[in-house]
């Protein structure tokens, strides 16, 4: 599905978009392509969902979002899509996933991340979310993060390694 040229393109793009007026010209030169060819390939990668989005990842702690809550709910499978769609509409919900339950001890299926400037704000937002989405009926837990041991681009490292394997044959 991804040819060798697009693999190389992905490898270059993983270093970030060049910070120059014509970023795709700079990439094109390295790949011996034209700027148009690169733009078409990038658009295709985006359409295929291989590029999830273009934009920024903010360092939420540096931005002052020091309270980070993972809120989990035991939502029945028959309701989860509808509730997931509703919950994700709230702009203070930063991530929202369905994940597999882990038996009786951890029966939760819906995971929401709420980043806030402080704990009080996050808890207020959570109350608002619970009330607005009718989540009172579901068992839930709120897990605040206490300490961040590690935060780095393992994903990108893993993907870089994968590309090396592919390009090495």
């Amino acid at each position: 599905m991804i040819d060798g040229v697009s693999r190389q393109l992905i490898e270059l793009l993983q270093q970030g978009l060049p910070l120059v007026s014509r970023p795709y010209t700079e990439i094109a030169k390295k790949l011996h392509l034209t700027e148009d060819e690169v733009l078409i390939r990038v658009a295709k990668l985006k359409q295929q969902g291989i590029i999830k989005r273009l934009g920024v990842v903010v360092n939420h702690r540096r931005l002052g979002y020091k309270a980070n809550a993972m809120v989990v709910f035991d939502v029945p499978d028959s309701l989860i899509s509808q509730i997931g769609d509703h919950v994700s509409q709230f702009n203070f919900v930063n991530l929202c996933y369905q994940r597999p339950r882990q038996g009786d001890q951890w029966p939760y299926s819906l995971y929401c991340m709420i980043h806030g400037k402080n704990k009080e704000t996050v808890l207020k937002q959570l109350d608002h979310l619970i009330e607005s989405c009718g989540l009172q009926q579901f068992k839930r837990e709120v897990l605040f993060s206490k300490q961040c041991f590690k935060q780095r681009g393992a994903l990108y490292q893993a993907l870089e390694k994968q590309q090396k394997v592919i390009s090495n044959g």
Partner: protein, 147 residues
């Protein structure tokens, strides 16, 4: 970080165009000069307010695998367990959380088979059960953290 930087951060969380002169397009939308926008993005990356700029890839679509995992680390062995888990290059985002399941981490691997291996190795080395919770569905959010 001044008001213009905040404007840029908030705007770029909404996406970045794919075209020959994307900085010019965004600079026009924000009423800035192109060179000013480029310099400010550079600066926000250098100072660490932004941890990435550009395309963000989808691990599973690339053939890789990703999961959220957790363990119940006994309090007296907590640091030791954290050290073991963090020693895996495939582990990112390890957080201590206030629950019996007190250590939560993301594992990202180049191929799905490796993910299974990493979980098994963590279980062997820590003597703890790893709860494996890969996503089943993702509900789209705007990803906005107001600067």
């Amino acid at each position: 970080m001044d008001e213009v930087d905040k404007l840029i951060i908030n705007h770029l969380q909404g996406g970045f165009p794919v075209c020959d002169s994307p900085y010019q397009v965004v600079a026009d939308q924000l009423g800035l000069a192109e060179a000013d926008l480029i310099n400010r993005i550079k600066n926000l990356l250098d100072t660490g307010l932004l941890s990435r700029f550009g395309p963000l890839f989808h691990a599973e679509q690339m053939g890789g695998a990703l999961t959220l995992a957790a363990v119940k680390a006994p309090e007296q062995q907590f640091d030791q367990i954290a050290e073991i888990i963090n020693s895996f290059p495939e582990v990112a985002h390890n957080y201590a959380r206030n629950h019996e399941l007190n250590m939560w981490f993301v594992i990202a691997t180049d191929v799905p088979e490796r993910l299974t291996e990493v979980i098994k190795e963590i279980e062997q080395q820590t003597k703890l059960a790893v709860y494996n919770m890969p996503k089943i569905n993702e509900y789209f959010v705007g990803l906005k953290l107001q600067a």
